[in-house]
């Protein structure tokens, strides 16, 4: 099977519909759903100022869910010839029949209407091995010209489509591309390190040259850090760091866990904190699949519209699955993906220039939960930590381990910049907060 016959990579809508129909026709289950994923992925990787590996592959994969009454099972396979489909369907049907009834099984949705979500860009889909190696070569050249710098970087691009179809007549299709790029520059003396990176759907909207320059500049500037004692400091966080904290807040928004009393958003004595102020009143956080070119539907084909999670600092929604929404008399919401956080008109430089004293954090690393009751995490700073005083970055300081929660951080919010596209499907501002809790020094560079 070839992956896409048209101009675009991955199955076209017609091809996806045809293959889905073929699979659905081969089932004898009461209900069946087919999700297809298809397309191309290519990458180029470099380190120690040379390209180390590159790779590409294409694929088509089908996930088939069948249901007899409330007994259901799913099989995923990339063997899609007629015999293989027959075999996969027979296997998943046999498994479904052996599976106990799932009291939470929801019936398949009928035909739905979906908002447009333009996520496919030829500029990304055309990034073949040679184009990718030229981008890597430019990063390496930037390091060589600066002198005394080793760079490592990674460009990962994909182009393809996804679809959901069921035997109740639903068909959802979305084509998209993604480009993720990052570069780390390290000084030869081992005391300086800088990072820059981004995610985008449209490669033409990116500037890898700026990323190269920024990583190298940060590396040079972060050499020979001074010692700063651990403690609670005002902090300016670059968007990459903000993204890592805010996404963890968003992914704690499951309504069922809150209702069950095992979430930071469970209210003591019963119920949830819906409608309560949870962070600073300037914080607005929402999912925007259409705005970020993501699929405008969930895994079972439910259309998803922009969904506000935190509005003016108030917990305005929790994430409801179809089952839990029905049980609680709510509307299903989809998950908290394709996140956006509102910002201001300011630049990152404005945030720094308006800071009396504090620590600048480029990015966070190895973030792990320490207490889900407060969404508390531990992690480290990395690749460019600086002391700010009198509105200017003064000198590099050591990295830190930190222990804190996005709830506490966003409650101590002082200011925000304009939002930046940090991931293919995430946009957040840089922030300045009154305090961030550094618990020990990390001598890592």
């Amino acid at each position: 099977m070839s992956v896409g016959t048209g101009d675009r990579r991955g199955l076209s809508a017609d091809e996806a519909r045809e293959l889905s129909t073929r699979i659905l026709r081969s089932t004898s289950a009461d209900e069946a759903r087919v999700s297809l994923t298809s397309g191309w992925r290519g990458n180029t990787r470099y380190a120690v100022n040379r390209i180390t590996t590159a790779g590409e592959f294409e694929r088509v994969q089908a996930s088939i869910t069948v249901r007899f009454g409330k007994r259901q099972a799913t099989i995923t396979t990339n063997r899609l010839d007629a015999d293989a489909i027959t075999e996969a369907v027979a296997s998943v049907q046999a498994q479904a029949r052996l599976t106990p009834e799932d009291p939470e099984a929801m019936p398949e949705l009928g035909p739905q209407r979906y908002a447009d979500s333009a996520g496919y860009h030829d500029s990304t889909a055309n990034l073949g091995p040679e184009a990718r190696s030229e981008i890597a070569a430019d990063g390496i050249q930037t390091a060589i010209e600066a002198g005394g710098i080793d760079v490592a970087g990674f460009l990962d691009v994909s182009a393809g489509s996804g679809s959901v179809a069921n035997n109740a007549g639903l068909f959802a299709y979305h084509a998209s591309t993604s480009a993720t790029y990052s570069i780390t520059a390290r000084t030869a003396d081992g005391t300086g390190s800088g990072w820059s990176g981004f995610g985008e759907r449209d490669w033409a909207a990116t500037d890898s040259g700026s990323a190269h320059a920024q990583a190298v500049e940060t590396a040079l500037r972060s050499r020979e850090p001074r010692t700063l004692e651990p403690g609670s400091y005002p902090v300016v966080m670059a968007p990459e760091a903000v993204s890592d904290l805010v996404s963890r807040l968003a992914f704690s928004m499951d309504a069922r866990r809150a209702d069950e009393g095992r979430s930071a958003f469970s209210a003591e004595g019963g119920g949830t904190k819906l409608g309560e102020r949870i962070v600073d009143e300037r914080v607005r956080l929402w999912s925007d699949p259409q705005g970020l070119g993501s699929a405008p539907y969930t895994g079972d084909g439910l259309p998803i519209e922009p969904m506000m999670w935190v509005d003016d600092g108030i917990l305005s929604n929790l994430s409801y699955s179809r089952f839990w929404a029905k049980k609680q008399g709510k509307q299903p919401t989809g998950g908290p993906g394709s996140l956006r956080m509102a910002g201001t008109e300011k630049s990152l430089e404005d945030l720094i220039s308006e800071t009396q004293r504090g620590v600048f954090v480029t990015r966070l690393w190895y973030i792990r939960s320490t207490d889900p009751r407060t969404i508390s995490y531990t992690g480290l700073t990395r690749d460019g930590t600086f002391w700010i005083e009198d509105g200017q970055i003064q000198y590099p300081v050591n990295n830190f381990r930190w222990n804190d929660s996005p709830l506490f951080v966003l409650s101590a919010l002082e200011d925000m910049s304009r939002p930046f596209r940090v991931r293919t499907s995430r946009e957040v501002p840089a922030i300045r907060v009154g305090e961030f809790n550094f618990t020990s020094v990390s001598e890592a560079v």
């Binding site: 099977m1 992925r41 470099y46 380190a47 120690v48 040379r50 390209i51 180390t52 590159a54 790779g55 590409e56 592959f57 694929r59 088509v60 099972a73 799913t74 099989i75 995923t76 396979t77 990339n78 010839d81 007629a82 015999d83 293989a84 479904a96 052996l98 599976t99 106990p100 799932d102 939470e104 091995p129 190696s133 890597a136 490592a152 990962d156 990052s182 570069i183 780390t184 390290r186 390190s193 990072w195 009393g261 095992r262 190895y366 973030i367 939960s369 320490t370 207490d371 407060t374 508390s376 531990t378 990295n399 381990r401 929660s405 618990t439 020990s440 020094v441 990390s442 890592a444 560079v445």
Partner: protein
Amino acid sequence: MTMKRRDFVASTALAAGGLILAPKLARPAGGLMTRYSLAPPVDPATKELLLSAVDAAMSSGAQFVDARVELVRTQSVSTRELQITGVSETSTQGVGVRVFFDGSWGFAATQELSKEPVARAAQSATAMARANAKIGRGNIHLAPVDGYGDVTWTSDFEIDPWDVSVEDKAAQFLALNEIAVAAENVSFVSSGVQSVKIDKTLATSEGTVAAQRLVRLSPFMTITAVSSDRSDFQTRGSVVEPAGSGYEYVNANMTSANVERWAAEASAKLSAASVESGKYDLVLHPSHLWLTIHESIGHPTELDRALGYEANYAGTSFLSPPEAVLGSLRYGPDFMNVEAERTSSGGLVTIGWDDEGVPADRWMLIDKGIFVDYQTTREQVDWISDITGITHSHGCAYADGWSSIPFQRMPNINLMPGEEDLTEDDIVSGVDDGIFVEGRGSYSIDQQRYNFQFGGQVFWEIKGGKKTRMLRDVGYQARTTDFWNSLAAIGGPSTYFVGGTFRDGKGQPGQINAVSHGCPVSLFQNISVLNTGG
């Protein structure tokens, strides 16, 4: 190092001649693709397909080629409380071809198991390697390895996880859940088992065709207790380690008695005393310590990492440059010995031949407390052989599927037990003011592997040589070599226990490795403990 096609064919034929082959016949073509049966021993149709890829790349100028067919099957059965939540199976199959040219690698993969697409992948991988070699060409050589002809290997297992029906698996876990939710304050339990079966056949341009089967299992259960006024909730999870074993492992570990204990622990955590921050002696149970070993010994001893090849993602290592640390850096006390191996039965990353045709190895990383060697693949041997005198690869090449490029991944890494067979009680009895830690909890370490923080699942106060009351909210922070040099006692062989993970991430694009770590109960003195309770 490089081999011409003629030599390759000759060595394969020669080696194969000495082995008994019992090939399964390829099934007749159905639909668009020919299907290949991938069970060991070496399947002739698979071998032919792989050799055609090797041939295609070598004739396009490659200096080394490995081609690998993989069929990866995973099955997941999951439950919550008294109901099923999911039964799913994934089966993915394809061929990956990796090509080495003038110090650079190219890789391409296809899910179409027929000669033309596989040849295209081989040519495409060669073109990529050539394009990359033009930019900052590296002085990279592959350590020599023998061609082993047709060889086979399989994980040790008694019961194939696929021979236990999903009905029986679901019934087993639902019965265990019933026991869990009967405990006081236990409101929720999620449980189930993930099974993995990988059939892979590798052909190298040096004359090895290795058909191997890996079976891995990860039974899981997380029990949540909620206080009656809903002011608090606590969980007990990470109850059983994943293993490279058959379903007999699940039956042996997911027992009623164990579930009763785990549920009681979840419940007891609600009323456990919150720890006071300070310095404590820590007695670490192997169900906890394996992860500390993984993070603070496993990752820093990856040679690619130490030399900057992972700088853009996982980071580098404090064990660098090699000439400054090999044979001289004191990791811990004289009785600290750490081995690496891909040979132990039940080990998650145990194998016959690695993904570039190197036979499984066993070697020391830390000998009598001194750091002596890294983890290596063939291209890495040359980087340190002047110092170590070792001229062969330790066999750490691994790819997590047909569409992934092989690179250096962690072998099983184990802290060896003490010669004297000290028991857990012997060790606890020597502690005046300490904490006993069991189970994998939160874990975080910096990008050069100096500063770490670990939590756990269950904590017991130790006073006057005895475990007294349960504690909670315990996290400890330390610097790697300070921590290991505070190692004061290790248990004997009777306390040795193997833990591990299904999901160790490394590389870009990210790949997942499953890896085991064995260790005895161990005592660390004077470690900083903080209270991690919200």
